[in-house]
Amino acid sequence: MLRYAGRRLLAAIPLLFFVPLLVFALIELAPGDPATILAGDEPTPERIAAIREELDLNDPVLLRYLQWIGDVLHGNLGTSFVSDQSVTDLLTRRMATTMSLVLVAMIFAILLGTALALVATLRSGGIVDRAVNWFASIAIAIPGFWFGLVLVSVFAVGLQMFPAFGFQPLSAGFWPWLSHLILPGFALGLLPAAEVTLQLRSALGQVMKSDYILNAEAKGMSRTSVVFKHSLKNACIPVITVLGFRVAEVLAGSVTIEMIYNMPGLGRTAVEAVQGRDVPVLLGFVLFSTTIVVLVNLIVDISYGYFNPKVRS
């Protein structure tokens, strides 16, 4: 088991550095002088020269890339073009917001998805089942950031139930923290919630057909206890896997949600970095989010091996 985990970990590391390589290659391949492009819409000669200097654009691209990797391995992600801050500091400071948001969205997705799938399974084939299925397939097509805007308009501006914008750290108290996360978490969690619903409903449907469920029902167990005591545990495994792989999309979705709710998170940092053509921050952000995704996938992969010894070899 440990060897399997180690092998997966080694296989995952090159993934981390591929996307930054892509960024370096694009800077090199983009038509025109990269320093001029990165200097923005109205470049001044000083700014172009500064960028050229900062990115070592006079060096060959591969050397630049290897230097960057060397710095990263020393824990140094460079300095922001715009604010002259250390990129590592900047990203770590902004991380708490994004992690809180993703956490609330995922918890929401699991709670709502499980509840809907359970209700649908208990009323299998009935109106509720069909309504749940209908709701989930529609919810999948709703753009998360639009849903976020609708929530602001209805619950924050219209009913004034929740704060519309901003973020409070957990240190400011649980309720101030949570109240700023309910609407964005709901908006970000709707898509994974719909997916959990569909996945869990279908997994439960499969499990309900198996012999041991038939046996449990034959001995007179009520449907509710069959579902809760026997089916749910077995149906959970594929859902956990799917959820793991969805973390990437939730993380991507947090970019627009953070913009709408004016939250000082990683996504907002990235958008500001794009506007300021702040390459070091962008590279750091890409490395950061890829790492999170690769880590989560790794955990899912390893849990695969844990649940199913056949995968290990």
Binding site: F18, L149, R246, I260, N297
Partner: protein, 324 residues
């Protein structure tokens, strides 16, 4: 992450990009479809008319298809249909709610929302087509090469595609746009690149399925060039599931374009796209909440329609494959 996985089971990691997440399940099913064909001893490519007939039989697919057709017509005929010039500003008419003159109201520059919505359909559909074309051009040939050649070429290409898929799609797209400069074409290039692995996987799986069929070996034995063998004999087998991926990807691209334009990385002002209209709505949400609805509903309906059309294609594929 999955170089060693069998071609027929892309696994749960398969495709995790964009808002068109149903692609996940669909692509998986499609990758599984050829297995059925082999099981029934019918390796011959499916004739397209059979699929078309099967698609047409489903009402939801028809409604979704009709919606997309009307939308395309609206996009093409936008200059004739729009009641006002979408870019003309009138500061006296700022943020006016819907009225007889302006059915959907006006935005913060006094521009007619309905006209912008109609012209936005142009931008959104055209952008989606561009992105899907980029993904197709990148994914299909490389997928077929990987599946046909196997060996180290396959390993390298699969690794690269896995790496692209391991980054959150929008994050990758934002980064590419930052480097290439914002603008709709660059944004769609980025989204196309991000979606390419889907095409790659399906093309690779479809190619591997028939790679060792007798008719392929016959073609090689007859002295056909690799190009001719792949284009004439492998491609027809790969194409039907690719059509499904195209449909789903168009939906993903519409949503992705909206996200990027919302963030100000897609269309340049004053041009209207549904995403940039939502950005306007976002900054005026207290004064003009009515601005939130039209572009959002259009994005939602378009994504939904592409999903349903894709679903129709998938069902038709499964039915034609296993039916005869």
């Amino acid at each position: 992450m999955s170089a060693k996985r069998s071609p027929m089971s892309p696994g749960p990691g398969d495709d995790s990009h964009g808002a068109g997440t149903p692609a996940d399940g669909l692509a998986k099913t499609v990758a599984n479809v050829p297995t059925v064909a082999i099981g029934t001893g019918d390796p011959e490519p499916v004739a397209a008319p059979g699929i078309l007939k099967s698609i047409v039989r489903r009402p939801t697919t028809i409604v979704a298809g009709a919606f997309l057709l009307v939308l395309t017509l609206i996009a093409i005929l936008a200059p004739a249909l729009a009641p006002h010039d979408p870019d003309v500003q009138n500061l006296l008419l700022r943020l006016k709610p819907p009225s007889a003159e302006h059915w959907l109201g006006t935005d913060d520059y006094g521009r007619d929302v309905l006209s912008r919505l109609i012209f936005g359909a142009r931008v959104s559909l055209w952008a989606a087509l561009q992105a899907a074309a980029v993904a197709l051009v990148l994914g299909l040939p490389f997928g077929m090469i990987a599946g046909y050649r196997g060996g180290w070429i396959d390993t390298v290409l699969t690794r690269i595609m896995d790496a692209i898929m391991s980054a959150p799609s929008l994050v990758l797209a934002i980064t590419i746009v930052a480097v290439l400069g914002s603008g709709i074409t660059n944004a769609m290039l980025a989204i196309g690149l991000v979606m390419a692995p889907r095409f790659f996987r399906v093309a690779r799986a479809g190619t591997m399925d028939v790679r060792h069929e007798t008719y392929i070996e016959a073609s090689i034995a007859l002295g056909c060039s690799t190009l001719r063998t792949t284009v004439r004999h492998v491609l027809p087998n790969v194409l039907p599931p690719i059509i499904l991926v195209i449909s789903v990807s168009l939906g993903t691209a519409v949503a992705a374009e909206a996200s990027l334009s919302f963030l100000g990385l897609g269309v340049k002002a004053p041009a209207a796209s549904w995403g940039s209209m939502l950005s306007t709505a976002s900054s005026n949400i207290r004064l003009a909440p009515y601005l939130v609805w039209p572009p959002g509903v259009m994005i939602f309906l378009t994504v939904l329609a592409f999903t349903y059309v894709g679903d129709g294609v998938r069902r038709a594929l499964v039915r034609t494959r296993s039916g005869n």
